[in-house]
C-alpha cells in the first residue's frame, strides 16, 4: 500500500515541524500498513518554495537513517503544487517536483474559491505532457457545491486523489458525502493520507480501510492504493474507467446545502 499524499518532511511546509515528528509519522505510517510513502510537500509560490533538490536531500538523508529507528519504508519525492498559470514552469525548472520524476503532477486548488483559469493551467501542464492529478477534490467548497466539475476535469484528462480521512468524515460531512459519491462512480484514482500531524489520520486507517472495502471492495481498493500509484512510480499510463455522473439524493443535498 502506497500513501500518495503526505507532508512528512520537517519544516518544509505546514506539515511535520521537527525531525522527531517526521520519524514518528513514518513509524505511524508503517504501523498503518503502508510500505511506501510519497512526500508531497506544498509548493506555493511566495509561501513554500523549497526546491526539489533540497527536498530530495532531506528525503535521502531520512531514508538512509530509517533503519536506526527500525522503520521499513520506501520514500519517494513529489510535491503538491498550488495551481498557477506558471505551474509547468515551476516543474521544468526543478522548483516543484513531479511524482518520483515521472510525468505525473499532484496539484491543488485554493480550498474556498474557484480559480478562474483552471482549464488554462491544466492545458499548460498537458501541453508539456505532464499528467495532472488533483489533490482531495472532495475538500474544495466549490466542488461540494458543484460536484459535476470533477466529472468535467476527468474528461479533460485530470486524475483524482481523494483523502483517506474524508471517508470517515475527518474533513466534515460535506467532504464525506462527496468523496463517497466520487468513489462509487469511478471518479477517484488515488488515495492519500494528507498527513500533517501525529495521531491525526494514521491511527484511523483500520477503520477507513474497512469502510472503503465495504464501498468498493478489496480489488478496487487495491487498484487505488497499490496498482495505480505503482504505475505512476514507473511512469506508465494508468487505465481510467469511464466516470459516471451522479445525482445527489435528498439527504446528501441537505448536508451540502448548509
Amino acid at each position: 500500500m502506497i500513501d500518495f499524499h503526505t507532508h512528512i518532511l520537517p519544516n518544509i511546509d505546514d506539515g511535520s515541524e521537527s525531525v522527531e515528528e517526521t520519524f514518528d509519522l513514518l513509524k505511524e505510517a508503517e504501523n498503518a500498513g503502508f510500505d511506501s510513502i510519497i512526500s508531497t510537500s506544498h509548493y506555493i509560490e511566495g509561501y513554500y518554495e523549497e526546491t526539489s533538490a533540497k527536498r530530495q536531500a532531506w528525503l535521502e538523508a531520512i531514508s538512509k537513517n530509517l533503519y536506526k529507528k527500525d522503520i521499513k519504508l520506501n520514500l519517494y519525492l513529489g510535491s503538491e503544487v498550488y495551481i498557477s498559470e506558471n505551474i509547468a514552469n515551476l516543474l521544468l525548472t526543478g522548483k516543484a517536483s513531479t511524482i518520483h520524476n515521472s510525468n505525473y503532477v499532484l496539484f491543488e486548488f485554493p480550498l474556498a474559491t474557484k480559480p478562474m483559469n483552471i482549464y488554462e493551467a491544466i492545458y499548460n501542464m498537458q501541453d508539456r505532457r505532464y499528467i495532472p492529478i488533483l489533490a482531495h477534490p472532495e475538500r474544495y467548497s466549490f466542488i461540494q457545491q458543484n460536484p459535476d466539475l470533477v466529472y468535467d476535469l476527468i474528461q479533460n484528462g485530470v486524475l483524482m486523489q481523494a483523502n483517506f480521512g474524508s471517508v470517515i468524515g475527518l474533513y466534515g460531512e460535506k467532504a464525506e458525502v462527496i468523496v463517497k459519491r466520487l468513489i462509487e462512480n469511478d471518479m477517484v484514482h488515488f488515495l492519500g493520507s494528507d498527513v500533517h500531524r501525529r495521531k491525526t489520520i494514521y491511527p484511523h486507517m483500520p477503520e477507513i480501510i474497512k469502510e472503503l472495502e465495504f464501498i468498493i471492495g478489496k480489488d478496487k481498493l487495491k487498484e487505488l492504493t497499490t496498482i495505480n500509484p505503482n504505475l505512476v512510480l514507473i511512469n506508465e499510463r494508468i487505465e481510467v474507467n469511464e466516470p459516471r455522473k451522479f445525482k445527489l439524493n435528498l439527504k446528501d443535498r441537505r448536508i451540502l446545502k448548509d
Binding site: P10, S18, V19, E20, F23, T51, S52, A53, K54, A57, W58, A61, I62, N65, K68, K69, A88, N89, L91, L92, T93, G94, K95, S102, N103, Y119, Y123, N124, Q126, D127, R128, R129, Y130, I131, D152, Q155, N156, G157, L231, N235, E236, R237, E239, V240, N241, E242
Partner: protein, 308 residues
C-alpha cells in the same frame, strides 16, 4: 486510451460487432456516392457522439483504412482524453494559425496507439468556435486530409445547441445523427434534420444509442459476452502494457520542431524567463546537505540517550 474504446479493448464483444455492422452499412452507402468525410452529431449533449465516433473510427482503422478523427467540439472536446493523446496542438490552433503552407497540417495530426488511426484533438478553447469552422481554413483542412487518408470522421457538437455541426454538415459527405433511447425528443430530432437539410447537408442515417439490452431476446449473445469478459479478465496484464507509453516532457522550444507555433511561442518566453534561476534550483550546496544530516543525527542521538 480509455476503456470506453471498446472496439479496441475488447474487439470480440457484441458491441464491437455492432460497430462492425455499422461500418459495413456505411461502406455499402459508399458505393453509390463518394463518402470520405463523415460527420457525427446529435441533438443534445451526452447522447454518445464521442463514444460512437471514436469506436467507429477504430473499427474503420481495424479494417485497414487510414482514418483521421477530428474533434470539432472546440468547447468541450474530449477525444484527446479518450484516445490518450496530447490536447494540443488541435483543430482550433490550426484554424486560428495564420500559416497556410501545405504540409503544416501534418503538425496537427497525432498518431494513436491504434494502427492507422490518427487524431486531431479540439485544441485550446477559442472565443469564436463557430466562426473558425466557416473559415476557408476548414475547407482547406478537409481537402488536405482527404488526400492523405481514406476516411475522415468529424466528432461534432450537438446540433440543437450550437450551429457548429450544422455548418460542418455542408462540408461533410454525409452526416450521422446519434440519438439516445428514451432521451432524445422527436421534435428536436426533426428540427436538427431540417436544419441540416436546409444547408444542403446529407444525412446518412440515425443511430439509436443507449438501448437497454434485453436478456431474454439476446440470451445467446449474453453467453458470448460473458465468455468474452472471462477471456479479457484473464489477460488483464497484457492489456495494461498495450497502453501507449508516456511521452517525455517537452523541455524547450529548440528540441521540438514538430510542435505548433503557439507552443513554441510560450516555450521561448518560459525559457528566457528562467535561465537565470535555473542554476540555483537544480542543486544544493554540501553545506546544506551537511546541515540536514546534522539535524537528523542530533535527533537520533537524543533518542538513543532517552532509551538508555
Amino acid at each position: 486510451m480509455k476503456k470506453e474504446v471498446i472496439a479496441y479493448t475488447s474487439p470480440k464483444s457484441p458491441i464491437s460487432e455492432i460497430f462492425r455492422t455499422l461500418r459495413t452499412n456505411i461502406q455499402f452507402m459508399n458505393v453509390k456516392r463518394k463518402m470520405q468525410v463523415l460527420l457525427v452529431t446529435s441533438t443534445s449533449p451526452s447522447e454518445g457522439k464521442s463514444w460512437i465516433s471514436s469506436n467507429l473510427a477504430v473499427t474503420f482503422a481495424q479494417a485497414g483504412k487510414k482514418v483521421i478523427i477530428i474533434d470539432s467540439d472546440m468547447r468541450k472536446g474530449r477525444q484527446f482524453a479518450i484516445l490518450g493523446v496530447a490536447p494540443r496542438p488541435g483543430l482550433s490552433d490550426f484554424l486560428s494559425s495564420e500559416s497556410t503552407d501545405n504540409d503544416s497540417v501534418l503538425n496537427y495530426i497525432q498518431a494513436t496507439e491504434i494502427e492507422n488511426l490518427y487524431v486531431i484533438p479540439a485544441g485550446a478553447v477559442p472565443p469564436n468556435p463557430s466562426e473558425l469552422l466557416v473559415s476557408t481554413q476548414m475547407i482547406d483542412l478537409l481537402d488536405q486530409l482527404k488526400k492523405i487518408c481514406d476516411i475522415v470522421i468529424i466528432d461534432g457538437t450537438p446540433s440543437e445547441l450550437v450551429t457548429d455541426s450544422v455548418i460542418l454538415s455542408r462540408l461533410a459527405d454525409s452526416t450521422i445523427i446519434v440519438t439516445a433511447h428514451k432521451i432524445t425528443k422527436k421534435d428536436s430530432l426533426r428540427k436538427v434534420i431540417k436544419n441540416i437539410q436546409n444547408v444542403d447537408g446529407r444525412i446518412a442515417g440515425i443511430i439509436i444509442n443507449k438501448l437497454p439490452i434485453s436478456t431474454k431476446r439476446y440470451g445467446e449473445k449474453y453467453y458470448y459476452y460473458g465468455d468474452e469478459r472471462r477471456r479479457t479478465s484473464r489477460s488483464e496484464q497484457p492489456s495494461k502494457s498495450k497502453l501507449r507509453p508516456i511521452e517525455p516532457i517537452i523541455k524547450n522550444a529548440g528540441e521540438d520542431l514538430n510542435d505548433t507555433k503557439t507552443t513554441n511561442k510560450t516555450n521561448s518566453t518560459i525559457k528566457s524567463k528562467n535561465t537565470s534561476d535555473e542554476k540555483n534550483t537544480q542543486e544544493i550546496s554540501n553545506e546544506e546537505k551537511g546541515d540536514i544530516l546534522n539535524q537528523i543525527n542530533k535527533y537520533l542521538e537524543k533518542e538513543k540517550k532517552n532509551n538508555l
